[in-house]
């Protein structure tokens, strides 16, 4: 596992050329090399799903993925699902349903929801439950996450994909403190 591997990957729409050791996990590349700290490490062993990102459109536990094998891959993290100043409909739906407590698991849920809705814009409750098995929430508002995915599906069916962050703040009377 010695020696460095050259990896070209596109992360959140930007191209990177990296040299990484063979044992480096995608989770560490994203968090510590590239600064995408929306990718969380809960368990480091495939169980909690807080580290899930999209690799070539598929959900992947980045704690179980070696970066060295991702040459040519396209990676999306929570930071890359909407352009600057905008929120993705799924993010807005999660904010509006207010299920989030500590928020540690939320990026994982949103990435899994995106993988699902990219494949099926109108999933059944059973499908939503099935896909959301990918992530554990210790604060435990699962039923609200199911509602959030349903709500996101409604937005997307109406063609609403990105929403201005300012509009969301105004609508929900959210203030940025500090």
């Amino acid at each position: 596992m010695r020696g460095l591997h050259r990896v070209k990957m596109r992360v959140n729409g930007r191209d990177y050329e990296l040299e990484v050791p063979g044992h480096e996990r995608l989770l560490d590349t994203l968090r510590y090399r590239l600064g995408f700290t929306g990718v969380k490490e809960g368990c480091g062993r495939g169980e909690c799903g807080t580290c899930i990102v999209l690799v070539n459109g598929e959900p992947r536990n980045s704690c179980l993925t070696l970066t060295a094998r991702l040459d040519g891959a396209e990676v999306t993290t929570i930071e890359g699902i909407a352009p600057p100043g905008k929120l993705h409909a799924i993010q807005v739906a999660f904010i509006e349903t207010a299920g989030v407590q500590c928020g540690f698991c939320t990026p994982g849920f949103i990435m899994v929801a995106k993988a699902l809705l990219d494949r099926n814009i109108d999933p059944s409750e059973e499908e939503i439950r099935n896909w959301l098995t990918s992530v554990l929430c210790r604060c435990g508002s699962y039923h609200l996450y199911i509602d959030a995915v349903k709500k996101a599906s409604e937005y997307l069916k109406k063609g609403v994909v990105f929403i201005d962050e300012r509009d969301v703040r105004e609508k929900l009377h959210l203030r940025v403190v500090g």
């Binding site: 596992m1 480091g44 598929e58 992947r60 098995t133």
Partner: protein, 259 residues
Amino acid sequence: MILIRDKRIKPPKYLVDILRFRDQLSYVRLENGYVKIGALATPWDLSQSILHRDERFAGFRDVWSKFGTMSLRFMATIGGNIATATDFSDYLVLLHVYNASVRLRGVNGERVVPLEKLILERRKPDLKPGEIITEVLFPEPPVGASSAFEKFDRRSILVAGLANSASYIQLEGKRIIDVRISLDTTGLNRIPGRLRELEDYLKGREFSAELIEKAVEEVIPRSVAKYSDWWASGEYRLEMTKVSVKRSLLKACKRLGVV
């Protein structure tokens, strides 16, 4: 990766990335009377194939619905599931009832090995240095056959299973023409295996729920041994194995419309 991290195995000197062949080795094909699955097919790939649409393969849907979590179903491969070679390899348990073999390829050529001969010990498949599994294959089952897989644990998902079983059954009317049953482990070696004594008991008889009940209660206690650990006692595992086998047999029969 997890075993290395937990210091349960030594880090390898070299790591070969076989996922580069994913495009070539993630197929599911019906060919010359055989079902052939590329070793790098993931549960997701299987879910998009005939294996999830045809009742003859219904057990594949059962394994899918109990396999890890959704995101892991995009990552795990069927070849890796077999090579892991433990009582927790769910596809391995199911593939036993399809009389599956694996195609191995290495620098010295190719060989086809039946699953029952492949697993030498827990975590020890008979793979020579430089050899990998490239394909899983099994005879295409006849119409009138179906299968089921049962996984039992304290939760329904993200569990290894305390008593897992698979059944394959072919009926003519109510007569059992063919039946194959496998367990996560039949003994203390903790590798999946077939329950031939129970199969022989059932073969040729008329199916009924009472027959299944009687056969399982009679045969399993004398032909199966289960280990104890801090999750569950051997006695509990054995008791739940009986339940698991009854359920998987009944589920397969229900799929054939006789329950």
